[in-house]
Structure formats: structure tokens, C-alpha cells
């Protein structure tokens, strides 16, 4: 679905990404992992068109995205969900969701999707008329994911959905992400929480200093000794039991 080949990008003259190759097959959950300042968010911004591509190519669903503007990329069906703090605090929950549906013209479908999202996240329904600035961190995260879904995307890119949230909330969010992928939406999840992301995703890429350092099936990555050393520490078993429960 998404093919990224030899992507170089950065801010102004500063080059952050140096030759990224990544591919996301249709209907799967793929994880992009790495610590702070390794280029995760830069890659997402480049894919979304917020940053210009210096070199390489990005192909999505048969279309070349290299020179496209962000709003054209959204119309193509590729939607990025930014980090959790970024809702529109001065708008109500419902208005936030409606901003997400801006690219669509089918009023009926929008209304249906709104109901669907309220089913996914019942807490949003109870707070639909309140300003989103008053929501808790976890609720805001649900809201921004819901807002991304309102665009009826073929693929969703999630930027650190677990950032600054309590473990229990993270678990809830991740199980929702799994449910979303079951409805046929392809997902690229960018995470620092390596353990959780690998439990969710089928395939993982580990990025460091602007290059893909390691890639492989999630099971292999979890047991990879270098991954264990640099990211995990401790056992994976505990959380996996929790997640299945």
C-alpha cells in the first residue's frame, strides 16, 4: 500500500533522514520504532507532505506522492494522526471530529462514521458538546484518532499514541487500534513504547540516526538481543498476558 524508497528529507539544509526504505502492505499493522530525535516524526511529516522530499520516492495506493501537497495526500486516503496533545482545544469534541471529515462530501456517510466512532470511543459521545481542551490525555488521544478516522482513510499513520499516557490507558488505546485495523484500515504506528508496539504490529522497523537500523517480524525483533538491550530490558511476557486479557 505504501512504498517508501530511499527517502532523504529534513528541515531546511539540515538533513535528518538519509535513505529510508519502508513498505506497508495493505491491511497490516506496521511499527516504526526508535528513540527521541531519530527521525520518526520527520518521516511522517515527509510522507504527509509537510516537509519537502529531497531525494527518493513515496508511492501510495498506486499514486506517486512526491510533489503532492498535504491536503491532496489526505484526499488520496492517507491520513496522519499527530501526537496526543494536538486537538483543537477551543472546539467541541464533535466539531473536532467534523474537521476530520472536511475532505468528504457525502453528508450521510459522515453521519454514519460519526456514530461509528462514538461506538468505538463511547467516552467521546458522552462529552460531545464539551470543549476538547477539557478532556484528559487519553480522551484527547481517542479524539485525534477518531478525527483521523473521520476522513475515511485507507491508511492511518499514528504518531506516538502512547506518549505521556498511563499504562492502563495505553492498553485501551492499543486495543482500539487493533479493532480499527480489523475494519480494513492499514496502519503505520510510530512508537517509543517498543514492547507494546511490537505486540500489536506484525512487522517492525527500527530507525536510528535517520536510517533503518533493523527490520523484521515482530516476534524476531522482540527476541533480538540488540533490541532487547537498547529498548526493552525486562520481560515481554507480562504485558502480553495483560494485552490478551
Amino acid at each position: 500500500m505504501l512504498e517508501i524508497k530511499n527517502v532523504h528529507a529534513g528541515y531546511g539544509k539540515l538533513k535528518i533522514l538519509r535513505g529510508i526504505n519502508l513498505s506497508v502492505p495493505k491491511g497490516k499493522i506496521i511499527a516504526l520504532l526508535g528513540g527521541n530525535g531519530t527521525g520518526k516524526s520527520t518521516l511522517l511529516k515527509t510522507i504527509s507532505g509537510l516537509l519537502p522530499l529531497m531525494e527518493g520516492s513515496i508511492e501510495f495506493d498506486g499514486q506517486i506522492l512526491d510533489k503532492k501537497k498535504p491536503h491532496e495526500i489526505v484526499k488520496a486516503g492517507l491520513v496522519q494522526v499527530t501526537q496526543s496533545k494536538e486537538s483543537y482545544p477551543a472546539m467541541t469534541v464533535e466539531e473536532n471530529l467534523m474537521v476530520g471529515s472536511y475532505v468528504r462530501n457525502d453528508r450521510h456517510g459522515v453521519q454514519q462514521d460519526l456514530e461509528k466512532i462514538y461506538e468505538f470511543f463511547p467516552i467521546l459521545k458522552t462529552r460531545r458538546k464539551t470543549l476538547s481542551g477539557t478532556l484528559s490525555g487519553g480522551e484527547v488521544q481517542m479524539l485525534v484518532i477518531g478525527r483521523g478516522l473521520m476522513a475515511n482513510p485507507k491508511m492511518l499513520m499514528l504518531d506516538e499514541p502512547s506518549a505521556a499516557l498511563a499504562p492502563k490507558v495505553v492498553l485501551e488505546i492499543f486495543s482500539n487500534i487493533y479493532k480499527i485495523s480489523q475494519t480494513g484500515v492499514t496502519i503505520l504506528i510510530v512508537e517509543q513504547n517498543v514492547r507494546m508496539a511490537l505486540l500489536l504490529a506484525e512487522y517492525g522497523y527500527i530507525i536510528r540516526d535517520g536510517v533503518i537500523m533493523l527490520e523484521g517480524k515482530s516476534d524476531n525483533l522482540i527476541h533480538d538481543s540488540s533490541v532487547r538491550e537498547s529498548f526493552l530490558g525486562g520481560t515481554v511476557a507480562d504485558t502480553s498476558r495483560e494485552l490478551s486479557a
Binding site: 504527509s48 491536503h71 484526499k75 494536538e86 483543537y88 467534523m98 474537521v99 472536511y102 475532505v103 476522513a151
Partner: protein
């Protein structure tokens, strides 16, 4: 001495009318401020240009007054969009607000203000031009007489503000305008074409200023005529108005608080 309730009532009506006109200019300034994070220092000049557009159309081209008003709004709106596209776009691209680039924006605004003022001076001269329209006899309510132009000003201004409020609050495009005002990156990621919307915001704000300019020009003073000393009074009031304009920061609804 007996208290003169009639005068009080008249003053309130005139005050509200003039206040509403200034409110429209302030609304424009705050729209731009919340939309682009810049204080538009040349807004007073757009207001003056709007008045002159209306004057030229109503007097020299003898277009009926309502059509001249709408024409002035459209012209000033287009002028604002052109100015934004040609001059401000380069600066806002590198960030506005309280950054170094925002400082550049302020200087650019002042420069634009001086430039526009002198363009107006070259075209129309510095003399005051009367802008009198004949709307019939003043309205008599008990002992007070209210000029028709005041009534028209108040009604149309409130209607315009109401329209803007409705537009921002209840339409899809209005929602997108608010989204752009609050966070441009996210608006972009939601598929909103941000540059087009910034043009729209500028156009709206300048059209409001033009409407205010036309109203102020023919309603100044209870006598109801005379754009007295166009440059001077408008220039002076432009600074005052900026201080008066509501501080709608990025986090607030960019409209409807005067």
C-alpha cells in the same frame, strides 16, 4: 436643571452606531490576528481605501449606494488578498507571532501602511471629501431625530457581524477557517488547503473594513455627511483601534467578540 433623557437616548444610539462600525474593523483585525498570528498594521488603510472605493463608485460612477457598498467590500477584499499573497505570504511562511519572523511581519505591516497611505494621497489628494448620500429625512422618534444613514449603518453592521458569526459557527467552511486559525499543521493534515483559507480570511477581514469605511464616511457626525479629513482621522484612529481590538489568541473563536 432637568435631566435630558432625550439627549441621553440620542447619544446612546449614535454611540452604538459608531461603536459597531469600529467593531467591524476590530473584528477584521482580530480575524487576521487569530488566523495568521500577525497584527495587521495596515488595516486602517484598507478601511480608508474601502471608503474611497465606495466614494468613487457612488459619486463619480453614480452607482446606487447599496451596490457601491458591496462593490467597495469586494474590491477591498480582493486588494487585501493581493497584498497578502504578494507581500505577507513570504513572511508568514517562516512563522508569525512573537518570533523574529513575527517582528518582520510587524515592520512589513507598518511599511504597507505608509505605502498605501501615500498611494491614496497621490490618487485622491489630502483634502477632505464629502461623501453625502441622500436617504431622505431623519427619522423622528418622539423628540429625537435619527439620520437614516445611522440606522442603515447599525442594521447592516449587525447583520454583517451576525452573518460572520453564523458562517464561522455553523458552516463547514467556517469550521475549516477556525481549524486553520487554531493550528495550521493539523488543518493541513486534515486535508484543508491552508493557503487558500488564509487568503479567504484576509479577504473577509478587508471586506469588513471596507464596509466600516463606507459607513463611517457617510455617517460621521450627527449631520450625516462629510468624510472629514479622511487621511488624518483614519490614520489616527487606526492605532487606537488596534488597542481596542479583542485579543483573540489562537486558542479562541476568531470572531464575534467586540
Amino acid at each position: 436643571m432637568e435631566f435630558d433623557f432625550n439627549s441621553l437616548f440620542a447619544f446612546i444610539i449614535f454611540g452604538v452606531t459608531i461603536g459597531v462600525v469600529y467593531g467591524m474593523v476590530a473584528l477584521g483585525i482580530s480575524l487576521i490576528y487569530s488566523g495568521l498570528d500577525i497584527v495587521h498594521f495596515a488595516h486602517g488603510e484598507i478601511y480608508m481605501f474601502g471608503a474611497f472605493f465606495g466614494l468613487v463608485m457612488a459619486k463619480d460612477m453614480s452607482i446606487p449606494y447599496p451596490a457601491a457598498l458591496i462593490g467597495a467590500m469586494i474590491l477591498a477584499g480582493l486588494m487585501g488578498m493581493l497584498i497578502e499573497r504578494v507581500f505577507y505570504r513570504r513572511l508568514t511562511r517562516s512563522g508569525g507571532g512573537y518570533t523574529v519572523a513575527g517582528m518582520g511581519m510587524i515592520i512589513c505591516g507598518f511599511g504597507m501602511s505608509v505605502a498605501l497611505m501615500n498611494v491614496a494621497f497621490l490618487i485622491w489628494g489630502a483634502d477632505a471629501k464629502p461623501f453625502s448620500i441622500n436617504l431622505g429625512m431623519p427619522l423622528q422618534i418622539s423628540n429625537i431625530s435619527i439620520p437614516q444613514s445611522y440606522l442603515l449603518t447599525a442594521v447592516v453592521s449587525f447583520a454583517l457581524m451576525g452573518l460572520l458569526h453564523f458562517f464561522l459557527k455553523y458552516t463547514k467552511i467556517g469550521l475549516a477557517v477556525r481549524a486553520v486559525a487554531q493550528n495550521k499543521d493539523i488543518a493541513y493534515l486534515m486535508g484543508i488547503n491552508v493557503p487558500v483559507f488564509i487568503s479567504l480570511i484576509f479577504g473577509l477581514a478587508c471586506a469588513l473594513a471596507a464596509a466600516a469605511g463606507v459607513f463611517r464616511a457617510n455617517a460621521v457626525g450627527p449631520g450625516g455627511d462629510g468624510l472629514s479629513d479622511a487621511d488624518e482621522s483614519l490614520r489616527r484612529s487606526s492605532c487606537w483601534r488596534i488597542r481596542q481590538s479583542p485579543r483573540s489568541t489562537a486558542g479562541r473563536n476568531p470572531g464575534w467578540h467586540i
